[in-house]
């Protein structure tokens, strides 16, 4: 406490401010939230952030390794503008390997906020402005390229848009289902409660992966990519809600007998009003924590399905799709940079878990006390 003096009067501290104070002390959670905000921003603006589209092929760089960003050139001259050296590709007649050597004669400076490929941001704004490009000549591949010569850096962020949004959309759906069923069961009790409980038990006793597989294999072939995207999201959330529903039900059962609920009821408030105005807000923080911790499950679910080849399909790019293309022995031996999407999955999932931890500790006063003591 002593090293973080409060800047406001203790009497006026709102619960929200208290939570924020406690949260700030959780360093990993702070790092995570910065990381997540960054990556969500990049995913949201991926057309702008990345230099190329998902299908742009560079025949001069097929299976090319990541490029090094340089500030110092061969002659030892320091340049403030970062640059990369172009690749010389040479198919080794002996090994049939595409060998790449940096050619110092081809120096491609990286320009920021420069013009490049045309695209439509969110399908609306027609522009060719990119965060960075190498101008009209040359190419830059920070993460290397895949077997069709496509820029992996670009594909990772386009993939992030899909994978990360599936996490959010899926969790919103889960929340909706969980609160609805949990709330109904907890508030009404009786036969409804028992029915919902049995459904939850059945759903929880089923192994999720085979079930996901069966359901996603049943998605019609002719569905558009957007259809498949929502199909997968719905499948993932269909099996995510029971946990939340249980918790919501438990809370409702406890809250039902609380004084403020009883007084609201005695004052003649309607059921809906009691549920939505009085009961739900009292454990919003708890719900948010649960939701945060559920997002990585969704992301991993999508990744797993796509990795197995039954989730999203090209041309849609997601992290799972990218990893599916990297799932062979050759990649590990010859083009390990194609595993970079896996690194992003790991980092994102960890970040969400740390964030969830931080939130839980911040919200739960007891855990905070424990940490403070």
């Amino acid at each position: 406490m002593s090293d973080s003096p409060l800047e406001f009067d203790l009497d006026e501290v709102s619960p929200r401010q208290l939570i924020w104070q406690r949260f700030k002390r959780h360093r990993l959670a702070m790092v995570s939230i910065v990381f997540l905000v960054l990556i969500y921003l990049m995913a949201g603006f991926c057309e702008f952030v990345t230099p190329y589209g998902t299908e742009t092929r560079n025949v001069k760089a097929i299976n090319a390794p990541p490029m090094t960003i340089r500030f110092v050139d061969e002659g030892g001259q320091i340049s403030l503008r970062p640059f990369v050296y172009g690749y010389d590709m040479h198919v080794n007649a002996d090994t049939w390997m595409r060998e790449y050597t940096e050619n110092t004669n081809f120096r491609y400076p990286i320009y920021f906020f420069s013009r490049g490929e045309r695209y439509r941001l969110w399908g609306l704004i027609d522009t060719d402005l990119h965060l960075f490009t190498t101008g009209h000549k040359g190419y830059v591949h920070f993460f290397g390229t895949d077997q069709l010569g496509r820029d992996l850096f670009s594909r990772v962020f386009y993939g992030a848009r899909i994978s990360l949004s599936i996490g959010i959309v899926g969790v919103v759906l889960t929340l909706f289902l969980g609160i609805f069923f949990g709330g109904v069961a907890g508030y009404l009790g009786g036969i409804v409660d028992r029915l919902v409980q049995r459904i939850i038990e059945v759903l929880q006793s089923l192994p999720t992966l085979p079930l996901w597989m069966a359901l996603s294999a049943a998605l019609p072939v002719a569905w558009s990519s957007i259809g498949v995207y929502f199909g997968i999201t719905i499948i993932l959330s269909l099996f995510g809600w029971p946990v939340l529903a249980r918790q919501v039900r438990g809370r409702f059962l406890a809250l039902r007998e609380e004084d403020f609920v009883i007084s609201a009821r005695l004052l003649g408030a309607s059921r809906m009003r009691i549920i939505f105005k009085h009961m739900l807000p009292s454990f919003t923080s708890h719900t948010i924590t649960t939701a945060t911790l559920a997002i990585p499950g969704m992301i991993l679910g999508e990744t797993a399905l796509s990795f197995l080849g039954i989730g999203l399909r090209p041309p849609v790019v997601s992290w799972g799709v990218l990893m599916q293309q990297a799932q062979n022995y050759q990649v590990i031996v010859m083009t390990p940079w194609l595993l970079i999407p896996g690194l992003f999955v790991v980092l994102t999932v960890m970040a969400f878990n740390f964030l969830g931890d931080g939130l839980r500790d911040a919200i739960d006063p007891y855990s905070a006390n424990r940490e403070a003591s």
């Binding site: 299908e55 092929r57 025949v59 007649a93 390997m97 069709l148 072939v221 062979n328 022995y329």
Partner: protein, 643 residues
């Protein structure tokens, strides 16, 4: 060896124009490397004056008749690639090679020139002047691995008792229709047909290994030779439902009982478990080397049963297999070459015979009339074809070593014309867009993809099985090229049984297969890529027109005149006894095909990696790989040996 392959490739770079010529006449280039004897009818011991015979040491001490007795009167002499080999060793392969490594014997075989038919089990054959009868004379003294002689009845059994049996083959196969097999004596028999069938000889040469079985073993499981109740009891005891099922499983070496059947091949199966098959040399094998040593040189085969292709590629690269090729692809070459540096394997680069590795097939009879009509429009097919950048595909997938091509005959074929291969094959997206615009396919909803005139999105779903050739990666590129001109192609990977099912039910909008049956041996029998004569899982272009023809108009849909014309030409090509006329008809069919782009080809004649143990000798550095010549048979695997 490594040095020679470098020089070959350097040569290719320097002499590019020469290379084009060599590719067309690729066969002549190969002949220089392969022994001349492989292109001529094999000679016999008496013709070469060989009188002393010897056998592998593992056979001595066994209770067997002497090698002279076992070899028969006048064994066949096969020259090895270079040096005379030595006996011994166990070769480690996977089950997937079951038709490529063990020498599979046929009445006749196909020479490495891909068009000459050479004698093998049969010493001679004759087609009657009217083309209705093919008479075969078996070599004297050939024995099954149990010592019983190979006789005409073994051939008659398969043709008359299996193929013409409506329990075994409910729908008679094309080659058995209207035919029967008759015996003249124990070594002479003929196939006779109602209509002229002069290409039966090609069929026997290519497919002949499946055209005979040891009757003295299999007759115990056939209703014609066993009393019905006893048969069903016997089959039941073996754990099978029907006799057909048992014969099929036993013949294909899928069950433990398979070890009971004798063979005339170089190796006989002696152990079969779910994960392993073991073979040992056939002591009665009928071939010898020029020194009088009985072939094969290698004593044993260990076959592992592995389904996963990744695992097979990894095993091949790390020297865990002594011969591996069937499941390897062009893109695997760098990985294999990396493995080669460790010295545990050698990587040979053969050429696949497929004129196009991927044959894209629009389904002209697809139930959705609007899509079928679009396919039938020449402009649409042309647009799809020229939207593909084949040169780029060649660079990306094949290291520039393939040949961009439409689906046409193999360069070794007398029907080959390079204009057929290059028709509508040049990349021209501007013209593709122009043609699609002219068809009224405009992007109305602004998603960058074309829609029908009434605004309904145009989508094509392509279902495919990813085996033998690099289909997955090729199609990924094709879908990108097509999307660049606004065509929404959706890919769906299916397994082969599902593909068969959906092909038969006519449910696929589009599919692909690899372009084999392109040599003079098979093309005249089944020009299936260019005329509606048969359909199945590999060909789903025109099910209804094929059915119409097969049922004489009872089922299916009446084909348009051009298709009827093609069917007639195909029939005539199949039945004419005039070879010149056949080539002329073949060229006509291919010409119409090239002009009409019935199918869309990509890149063909591509490098095929063949991985062998560095100790394995006698394998040519260069060969042609594919179904038409049964992969390795022109290169005599029985003469391969361990150093």
């Amino acid at each position: 060896m490594v040095r020679s392959s470098i020089s070959v490739i350097t040569l290719r770079v320097i002499l590019l124009p020469v290379l084009v010529f060599l590719k067309i006449a690729g066969v002549t280039a190969d002949q220089a490397v392969l022994p001349k004897a492989w292109f001529e009818p094999s000679r016999t011991a008496s013709e070469l004056g060989i009188t002393k015979f010897s056998q592998s040491p593992i056979l001595s001490g066994l209770e067997l008749p002497s090698v002279e007795v076992r070899l028969g009167k006048d064994p066949l002499v096969v020259s090895p690639l270079a040096d005379i080999g030595r006996y011994g060793g166990t070769i480690r392969i996977t089950r997937n090679e079951w038709l490529t490594f063990p020498n599979v014997e046929s009445p006749m075989t196909i020479s490495a020139d891909m068009r000459t038919i050479l004698p093998n089990l049969a010493q001679s054959w004759q087609t009657s002047p009217d083309g209705r009868r093919l008479t075969l004379t078996l070599r004297e003294g050939i024995k099954w691995s149990d010592g019983k002689p190979l006789v005409s009845d073994d051939f008659l059994f398969v043709f008359n008792d299996l193929w013409l049996n409506d329990e075994f083959d409910p729908i008679p196969r094309r080659m058995a229709k209207g035919g029967r097999a008759e015996k003249i004596d124990d070594r002479t028999f003929y196939y006779e047909f109602e209509n002229p069938n002069p290409l039966m000889v090609n069929y026997v040469a290519q497919y002949g290994s499946f055209m005979f079985l040891p009757k003295h073993y299999y007759q115990h499981f056939h209703p014609r030779y066993v009393e019905k109740e006893m048969l069903s009891r016997r089959i039941e005891d073996l754990g099978f439902i029907s006799w057909m099922e048992y014969i099929e499983a036993c013949r294909r070496q899928l069950i433990e009982e398979s070890v009971d059947q004798p063979t005339v091949d170089a190796f006989q199966i002696v152990e079969r478990t779910p994960t392993l098959a073991r073979y040992i040399r056939n002591p009665y094998y009928f071939k010898i080397d020029p020194k009088g040593q009985q072939l094969p040189y290698i004593d044993k085969i260990d076959q592992q049963i592995i389904d996963n292709k990744e695992v097979i590629a990894a095993m091949s690269a790390t020297g865990q297999l002594d011969f591996s090729a069937f499941e390897l692809k062009t893109q695997d070459i760098p990985l294999l070459k990396l493995g080669e540096q460790s010295g545990d394997i050698r990587v040979l680069i053969w050429n696949r015979l497929h004129s196009s590795d991927v044959v894209i097939q629009p389904n002209y009879n697809y139930p959705d009339k609007r899509l079928a009509k679009l396919y039938w429009d020449h402009r649409f097919r042309e647009a799809l074809s020229i939207a593909i950048n084949r040169e780029e595909m060649n660079q990306i997938i094949y290291f520039g070593q393939g040949t961009p091509s439409q689906m046409t005959a193999h360069p070794s074929s007398a029907m080959y014309d390079k204009q057929f291969a290059s028709a509508y094959a040049d990349y021209d997206p501007a013209r593709a867009n122009f043609l699609l615009d002219a068809l009224g396919l405009i992007d109305t909803d602004g998603d960058g993809l074309r829609d029908y005139e009434d605004g309904e999105p145009l989508t094509i779903t392509l279902e495919f099985v990813d085996w033998e050739t690099p289909k997955g990666i090729s199609l990924e590129l094709v879908s990108i090229y097509w999307r660049e001109v606004g065509i929404d192609l959706r890919l769906k990977l299916v397994d082969s049984s599902l593909q068969s099912e959906r092909a038969q039910a006519n449910k696929m909008q589009m599919t692909v297969w690899h372009g084999d049956k392109v040599t003079d041996i098979l093309l005249p029998i089944s020009p299936l890529w260019w005329a509606p004569i048969q359909s199945g899982r590999e060909n789903t272009l025109w099910n209804d027109w094929v059915r119409w023809r097969q049922t004489n108009g009872r089922l299916g849909v009446k084909p348009p005149p051009i298709m009827t014309q093609l069917q007639e030409w195909a029939d005539e090509m199949y039945s004419t006894i005039d070879d010149k006329r056949r080539i002329e008809l073949g060229k006509k069919i291919l010409d119409v095909g090239a002009k009409n782009i019935w199918t869309i080809g990509t890149v063909g004649l591509a490098p095929q990696p063949v991985v062998i143990s560095p100790k394995l000798r006698g394998v040519p550095d260069n060969g042609i790989w594919g179904w038409d010549n049964r992969w390795t048979l022109s290169y005599h695997p029985s003469t391969w040996y361990f150093e």
